[in-house]
Amino acid sequence: MNKAVIDRIIGQVSKPVRYMGNEYNMIVKDPSEVLIRFAIAFPDVYEVGMSHLGIKILYHIMNEREDTYCERVFAPWVDMEQKMRENNIPLFALETRDPVAGFDFLGFTLQYEMSYTNVVNMLDLAGIPLMSRERDKSHPFVIAGGPCAYNAEPLADFLDLVVMGEGEEVVNQLLDEYREWKKNGADRQDFLIRAAGIDGVYVPAFYDVDYNEDGTIGSIKPNREGVPPVIRKRIVRDLDNVYYPETMIVPYMNVVHDRVTLEVFRGCTRGCRFCQAGMIYRPVRERSMSRLMELARELIKNTGYEEISLSSLSTSDYSQLEELIKQFMDEFQSRRVSFALPSLRIDSFSREFIEEMIKVRKAGLTFAPEAGTQRLRDVINKGVTDEDLMNSVTQAFELGWDNVKLYFMIGLPTETEEDLDGIADLARRVRACYLDINRGKQAHRLKITVSTSSFVPKPFTPFQWVAQDSIDLLRQKQELLRDKLRIKSVTYDWHDSELSFLEAVFARGDRRLGKVLLKAWEMGCKFDGWAECFNYPAWQEAFRTSEIEPEFYANRLRDKQEVLPWDHIDVGVTKAFLWREYEKALKGELTPDCREICHGCGISRLGGGLCP
């Protein structure tokens, strides 16, 4: 009955394909023949979630198990949600269209702080009690992972379990444990205790947080025996031997990343001080070229995709990148499979490299100097110079590009107006460079887009202690830049500073924010990252009624001794290292790439011989 209604309402909403399922390579199993049903949830729309590599890996890894059927669920867009609520259709999985409330697990990936209201909304749509303590044996275990899970404290009351680190191995241990528990028929608490015994699994309810009078945290301690005081993240040691799917679901819809994604390595050795990914994904582990070629062949054959992209942080750091690209071209060019490379560092952009790329497709070029002056780039340890940028831009223009994008952050620690001037100067120099190369001709074809985002201090980075600029100050800086960038051929766009402020609040938030989240959701907040849905006044009201000052989280400078809400999580990189990096930042001292010299970040504690 419900399924007929689902079929009908899908026809009445925008982009019905989001809810259709039935894509090529979707896994079909008979739910009555499995012991464990897992709904893997991405708290945003289908086309965003289906672009995410982690989901694809976990989906296939779990479905390799005969005892488990893993299905997908995404946040229904507002029109679909309305239809679902009108027709009493609970949140359902795409594969079977069964309600996820009847599953054994509902697992969210937390990629972005501003998707937290969607997590709450999806629990509600599913008909699952919002709070962990309200759930009983009839409900699924609500579990989370992903980069934001390292500080999932604002969601602590809503989640039963959190997995720290890379999920490939943990997930199988967790499902094995669940299988045992389900056979024995013990109570819900018993499974949580078993799960807390698995390395990397965090059960928020097993920890108590107490607070000082000034609102800072006094301590975070286990409230029962046998629970580790510190949860250390899990990593995969060898990427060549870890599971990687040889098939992927091929969406009908044009999703954000609609291509074969090949993960070439994990981690990053650069040490940019603002970058959370660069710290939490350490150590660097590469996949071998032969394994990558093997995966590429299988994936192209099994999906029919016309494009492959390499995925990693700072992809041009792959030790055999040029050779890899050459092999790809040799093998796939004649078969019209093209090649996409995201996140290039501007200092590594060789001419031969661009020429190789251009053979297949000519896309727009983005350069990310991040800051406008050398001084500030040294503060953030972004080891590129003006000359690096100008060399790369010159090459691009010589090869015929006339559309470039320059990406910067504003509000970085120690920033002054001089640094903003630096942004405008760079834009001017890029323009002059184009005119020079084209001898003043075709000036009308040149398009330079300067884009700024507002810096959000993140946990587990050297800037985890700093105060974010206030909304007003960020706005002033944006206005200043707008004036400074009134330059021919240059357009300026910037991110909403209210959104950046909330990101900063939740990124470094603690458990007390749970009630704000709940309140904001009650007031209708969802899809906060989508401009058409973002409702800042509702958020302000939610903070006011919860008697919580968001500025305490976003705009306050912490001192060295303060207990941070995530201090009971060990991501490998130590707090002492981060503090050293913070002090060096304030002095403008660089820390070179750790492939050159080890800086003792602490990651080697996760096992010997890990670092390259």
Partner: protein, 232 residues
Amino acid sequence: MRIVVKYAKEGRVKYISHLELMRTLHRALRRADIPVAFSQGFNPQPRTAFTLPLPVGMTSEGEYMDIILESYLNPELLCQRMNEVLPNGITLLRAVEVDESLSSLMSLIERAVYLITIYDPVKDMDKKFNDFLKQNEIIIRKDGKKGKQRLINIRPMIHKAGIVNFQKTDTVIEAVLSTGSREYLNPNDMMDEFIAYAGEGNIERSYTVHRVDMLISSNNGWITPLEFGRGG
């Protein structure tokens, strides 16, 4: 080598758009390792041509695609290999080799045959439908360019229509409608107009549309594209 393929789009996939369908078929061609020819130029594309888009939400067993191959492949083998790698609901039904000099199907197809099922039919449906068709003119409003509304007489675009199966729970209409690049009538427009005409316009009627086949005018009357491809 040029092959004309007849295919079906049924079940859940009725919600995918024409662009999505094209992409799906192109990717299936690659999975099936079909030696399809590519266009020249900066962004080479598979040399395929599709008939007019089927509106989203309709099913069909009469869609057509033209494929140019680089080398010879038995048309039946092409169907077989494609069907192994297509998602549920998209099925290649027949394929025939046609002369490369033949005009494109796009330009030749003028009509299509539809089966339209109304659930919970209008009262006195058969009489009302006949009355509806007896009108000399059936004028509908369509949104034109620049927000202007155009008035169109759709009666000449309904070449044949009648109730073929009449039941209390659902009634099936068979209709032959203009479906070409010069003259085109969306079955939804005809049905919405009929429901309004029947005087129950405020009741939300649910109906489904299924396309049975497309038709080309020839010396031997109206024939299907496959008949045309085989030389009429």
